[in-house]
Symmetry: C2
Subunit: 287 residues, 2 copies
């Protein structure tokens, strides 16, 4: 269908048992990263999060096997810059919610070409009526149950937006369907805490780390939609798109007064890519 | 793994494309029913709900193909009483949340032997701290994202219970991980409304229909845990277990004062099975 490469449990081109609990129950977690020059960026952070999140739901991940999957896909691909999606499920089992003790995890790595035009692409947001639930453990991890996000993204597209802003039932900003949300105001960088059902993004983590050296005081704090409208600059982060200015929210054009404050954050993270992978992701052509 | 039969897109024993959105995004719905004497019980209601729920997320289901899958599994199975789980996904696609327009739905039917001992089995419940979100469309349908329920079921087992009672963030009773909740008090039958994130169970529907002829006034109304403790009788419903008395809630033994009021409800539904399938599910051996 996509022509992308896929590796399952040690084999390129494998298929999935339809009784896999990843399909039948959404019983698993995933991770997405980009490999530049065939080197996965921020690999350690991604591996650690994947292992920790899987462990939190009782699945033990063999991180050496994950790396083996990444490298099998990278070796096979003709693209020098590749999105790697890693999926870990509890494996096939009978129909009970409680897994068979014999269930063996399924490990999948899928590759797709990374398009450099997504880096920093400006985004329009529409606020969704679909909420993210802080009382749901699956909303605190990158679990497989993304249907609410699929529906919110569809609704946003119908309203002329690129992505949906998702709130909690109490009206706090959580994140978008695919990204974390940051607001810059008066030299302060603010993003919602994980307790407001924000996704624990790796790019979010890197941006928070880069703030102080870039002269911004960083804070995890509850944000409401009005705070977003009042900010000097709103931007989104994820591991594929890096930092993307948000230009429009529910029909309101947003000020772009903090572009100069975003630039050192993006530069710091691109510097880490250069260090780890030997190429700058801002280059339109692969090195 | 389970020895169960599985039919995918017209073929017994097929495998799944690992890029299927059912796996990668939980982008699909499912249904579970029991076939007695190789005849699916309440087939029309199950087909209609599956088609309506899939349609609500933009997937069109070919109900003739679903029936073909059921019958393929029923023909192949040696068991006269079979649980049929039907799964419909949006099919394989690339990695965007918005589906490829070319995506073709995947249809899976899996069979597993029905054990008559589950019918009416008494249940102990432990209230979960994991909540169900009424602001989530995926909580209003039988979507594939069941990880919260998997975790709640695990937590309940650790506390000596058979199942977890799930509330909404505002403290209303929603349902359990696998069943709807009913309370009988003074000739009134009460179950939470769908707007309190209750699953739209087919057995729930049949029980509500059977109430009036059985001399009970039925009502969909908000319930809180205290209402459950105060009821004459608490019971659970699902399409596999029918009506199960609830005997224990968070360490408190529950009164079983409404057993005689449950019996005509169960009898009415078993009568429908006899009518449609020619056998009584209360018989320990298949007819």
């Amino acid at each position: 269908v996509t022509g992308g490469l896929c590796w399952i449990n040690g084999r390129l081109g494998g298929t999935l048992d339809p009784r896999d609990r990843g399909l039948t129950l959404g019983d698993g977690v995933f991770d997405t990263l980009v490999a530049f020059n065939r080197v996965p960026f921020a690999a350690d952070l991604h591996l650690q999060r994947l292992r920790d999140q899987a462990h939190s739901i009782g699945i033990e991940v063999d991180t050496a096997a994950v790396q083996e999957g990444w490298h099998a896909v990278l070796r096979e691909s003709s693209a020098a810059r590749l999105i790697l999606r890693t999926t870990v499920t509890r494996g096939p089992s009978g129909r009970a919610l409680r897994p068979d003790s014999a269930a063996q995890p399924t490990l999948i790595v899928a590759g797709a070409t990374w398009d450099p035009r997504v880096l920093g692409a400006p985004a329009k947001l529409a606020t969704s009526a679909i909420t993210r639930n802080p009382g749901s453990p699956s909303s605190r991890i990158k679990s497989l149950g993304y249907l609410d996000h699929v529906l919110a993204a569809r609704e946003a597209a119908a309203r002329g937006a690129d992505d949906a802003l998702m709130l909690t039932p109490s009206g706090a900003v959580a994140c978008t369907t695919i990204a974390n949300v940051f607001a810059i105001s008066d030299g302060r960088l603010v993003t919602p805490p994980l307790s407001d059902a924000a996704q624990p993004g790796i790019m979010r983590h890197l941006v928070l780390q880069a703030a102080e050296p870039a002269g911004l005081s960083a804070e995890e704090r509850r944000l409401e939609p009005a705070d977003l409208l009042a900010a000097d600059q709103l931007f989104l982060t994820n591991s594929v798109r890096f930092l993307c200015p948000c230009v429009w929210l529910d029909g309101t054009l947003l000020p772009q007064r903090g572009q100069d404050r975003m630039k050192p954050l993006l530069a710091a993270i691109c510097g880490q890519v250069v260090e780890q992978c030997g190429t700058d992701p801002r280059l339109r052509e692969a090195a």
